[in-house]
């Protein structure tokens, strides 16, 4: 049994079916890439896994470590070890970055992490991810550039230590330098205790974070799966070839 098992998942948004039966396995220690054209449902899968209330599961299951989590609240999923790095992280005005992180960390601990240990860890991660210390004074994502927001998502991942991490188009809007920093951050966290699902439209990030498996989504379903060489094929031929086959 895989650590994260998605079986025949159908999901509706605003009454419209976006996922039409997705099946996927993700184990800790593995990195999966999920690719596909716009509208294929990649982000919808990410948010369904995270438990976003607007994404209604109409069929199938999501199981995490053997338990079906369809009805779990987002915070329960997070505390159990699921993490979603968002494509468009929102600014949360007036909520300080440090307060937010500490609250999130303490929510999954029996005893609060002492402030000093927390600040030390936070500052180390900020340095590794090239996030300036002046950001400590800011509210969550307040005035952050696109690249800064993405780096902060990875920083949260590093601090929260999930077992399953879904990265929703983390590479979108990043220049090469930012992409390298973010990728290095993910690579540092990779290991036998972490399963990563990279959702991306482009193959670029996969040059820095090597996937074990590549899956292609189209029209709300996974239509092709393979090893890293599938990404190379997409790079050369785009989605049309796969789409033609899948829709035939």
């Amino acid at each position: 049994m895989a650590d994260l098992e998605v079986r025949d998942l159908t999901v509706e948004v605003d009454g419209k079916e976006i996922l039409s039966g997705v099946t996927l396995d993700l184990d800790k220690g593995k990195t999966l890439a999920l690719m596909g054209p716009n509208g294929s449902g990649k982000s919808t899968l990410a948010y369904a896994i995270a438990g976003h209330p607007a994404y209604e599961i109409t069929g199938g299951t999501i199981a995490y470590k053997g338990q079906i989590i369809n009805d779990w609240t987002p915070d329960t999923r997070s505390r159990s070890g699921v993490f979603l790095a968002m494509q468009y992280p929102v600014e949360v005005p007036g909520v300080s970055l440090t307060n937010f992180l500490r609250t999130a960390i303490n929510a999954r601990r029996d005893e609060d992490l002492p402030i000093r240990a927390f600040m030390q860890e936070l500052k180390t991660q900020m340095a590794d991810l090239h996030v300036d210390e002046s950001f400590l004074q800011r509210s969550v994502n307040e005035g952050f550039s696109g690249g800064e927001k993405k780096r902060f998502e990875i920083l949260q991942m590093a601090m929260l230590e999930p077992e399953i991490a879904v990265l929703d188009e983390t590479d979108s809007g990043l220049d090469v330098d930012a992409l390298k920093v973010v990728s290095e951050g993910v690579n540092r966290l990779q290991g036998p205790d972490l399963g990563v699902l990279i959702i991306t439209h482009y193959t670029r990030i996969l040059r820095y974070i090597r996937p074990d498996e590549v899956h292609v989504m189209l029209d709300g379903r996974i239509v092709e799966s393979g090893g890293p060489e599938l990404a190379d094929r997409l790079e050369d031929h785009g989605y049309e070839e796969i789409a033609a086959t899948a829709r035939a």
């Binding site: 716009n38 949360v92 005005p93 300080s96 937010f100 929510a107 949260q156 439209h201 482009y202 989605y239």
Partner: protein, 494 residues
């Protein structure tokens, strides 16, 4: 000299309140003779007595506000909410209760005065301030000891006001005529007082209270003044929105050329109190006036934070937070008058409502023809936390000069579901996430103010409101879907 027992009321108007009895005067049954007798008995100077009688004439010629006739009272139905038949609370009544510790007392040796049921019961001015000429004393006494200053400034913002005329509201005239005692604060020219000065208005008795505060800052003076309002809870009778306590207050502040005044008002009366308050300042040349109101108390609160910008280059930052709970009605009406050129105003009010509550925000700005180079902005943001709450927000701009910058914005809505999801997706449980978001909402406003102890105090008040909130009932905006970036190019190559 007669003794100071309450004057015998004349026959005539009898109040409609069930509490009226024993021949006490009410707001509705005020008489010239009563004012004359009381003023004489207190040995007030002639000029003050004349002022009161002149105000009485206005009062006599005016009528109480009516929602259908008086634009500014449209949302606060006077007849339904205000009992003008409540007996005036006067000195000589049995006062054995003490006022609680004011916020200002937690600070280092502040100058402070306490007005308890219309009597100044405690005054303290530390030596180092007294030596510099800083004054905090009962207003009535100041009318004697500092007649010139009081005579010049008292009522200057309610009876005659540079370019804006007299206040025509009967609730103001009645205070001009019949304020009992009050507090006078004076900071002389070029004196900077670092510790906030405290004026505590504490009310313990049912009836009508008419407090008066006058603050005068000389040129280039600098001070912070806290006006704290407190009381126990009073029981409201069934089936009426009127309360057994009415506080009708006027706070005037004169900010001299180049001076800086921060006025913080904590409107924290208990339940069963109707609080009507005009807090008006005059900002002279290059003066800076900041006003912060923390509004969580009273059953009905109608606050008029007003500023006349009469000096070129003056600036004002009227700021407020409010949290209305079940049964509360808050009507907040800032009024900024740009009379002189190149003045700046920036109004920021944020509030939250829960339960069956009502708030009205009406931001009035007047820019006169001469006010070239005006820069004015007003912002109001309200969070509706649960069903049944209603918030109205309207800007009113009257602009007579083209060469200005004016902005206004208002947003009323529920907590943004995206904010909530973001916090929950990091493992923060819903209740705690809601608290964080509401605190975060208010912190922007409170961070504008650097007044010692105030931010913590206001946050504690807000947190208390959240704690008693029915968090399960808090509604959020429809969760916005995330979707794909509409601007991403359709890629055929990776």
């Amino acid at each position: 000299m007669t003794d100071s027992s309450p004057a015998t009321p004349q026959a005539g108007n009898v109040g409609s309140s069930p509490l009226e009895g024993g021949g006490k005067l009410t707001l509705d049954s005020l008489t010239e003779d009563f004012l004359l007798e009381r003023s004489t008995a207190d040995g007030e100077p002639d000029w003050l007595r004349d002022r009161r009688l002149a105000a009485f004439k206005n009062y006599r010629d005016q009528r109480w506000p009516e929602r259908k006739l008086d634009e500014y009272w449209r949302n606060t139905p006077f007849a339904q909410l205000v009992d003008v038949g409540l007996p005036l609370v006067s000195r000589g009544d049995d006062i054995t209760i003490e006022a609680p510790n004011a916020l200002v007392e937690s600070l280092d040796d502040p100058a402070a005065a306490t007005l308890l049921d219309g009597e100044v019961v405690a005054v303290n001015v530390p030596d180092h301030l007294a030596e510099q000429g800083v004054l905090v004393l009962p207003l009535r006494q100041a009318a004697h000891d500092h007649a010139d200053m009081v005579r010049t400034h008292l009522g200057s913002l309610t009876t005659t006001s540079d370019g804006t005329g007299a206040d025509e509201d009967r609730t103001i005239s009645v205070n001009d005529a019949a304020w009992d005692d009050g507090v006078f604060v004076h900071v002389p020219a070029e004196v900077e007082v670092t510790t906030p000065i405290g004026v505590q208005v504490h009310v313990t008795q049912p009836g009508t209270h008419l407090p008066r505060v006058l603050v005068v800052l000389g040129r280039f003076a600098k001070a912070t003044v806290y006006v704290e309002h407190s009381s126990p809870d009073f029981e409201r009778a069934e089936g009426t929105r009127r309360t057994p306590v009415l506080v009708d207050e006027v706070v005037e502040a004169i900010v001299g050329d180049g001076a800086a005044l921060d006025l913080v008002t904590l409107n924290e009366f208990g339940g069963g109190v109707t609080h009507l308050s005009l807090q008006k300042a005059q900002a002279n040349r290059d003066a800076t006036y900041r006003h912060l109101s923390v509004n969580t108390g009273a059953s009905t609160l109608r606050l008029r934070p007003e500023v006349d910008l009469v000096g070129a280059g003056a600036s004002t930052y009227p700021t407020g937070v409010y949290f209305a709970d079940e049964g509360q009605h808050f009507d907040l009406q800032p009024y900024i008058r740009h009379i002189a050129p190149r003045a700046t105003s920036d109004v920021l009010y944020k509030g939250a409502l829960q339960g069956k509550s009502r708030t009205i925000f009406r931001g009035n700005v007047l820019v006169s023809k001469e006010a070239v180079g005006t820069d004015t902005n007003e912002t109001n943001r309200t969070l509706i936390l649960t069903d049944g709450a209603r918030a109205d927000s309207t800007p009113f701009l009257e602009i007579h000069c083209a060469d200005i910058t004016a902005g206004h914005g208002s947003a009323t809505g529920q907590i943004d579901a995206r904010h909530l999801f973001y916090l929950e997706s990091r493992g923060i449980p819903r209740d705690e996430a809601l608290r964080l978001i509401v605190r975060g909402f208010f912190s922007e406003v409170l961070e504008r103010f650097d007044a010692p102890g105030v931010r913590d105090h206001a946050m504690a008040q807000i947190e208390h409101e959240i704690d008693i909130a029915d968090l399960d009932r808090i509604g959020v905006s429809d969760a916005a879907t995330v979707g794909e970036d509409p601007h991403a190019p359709i890629a055929s190559r990776g």
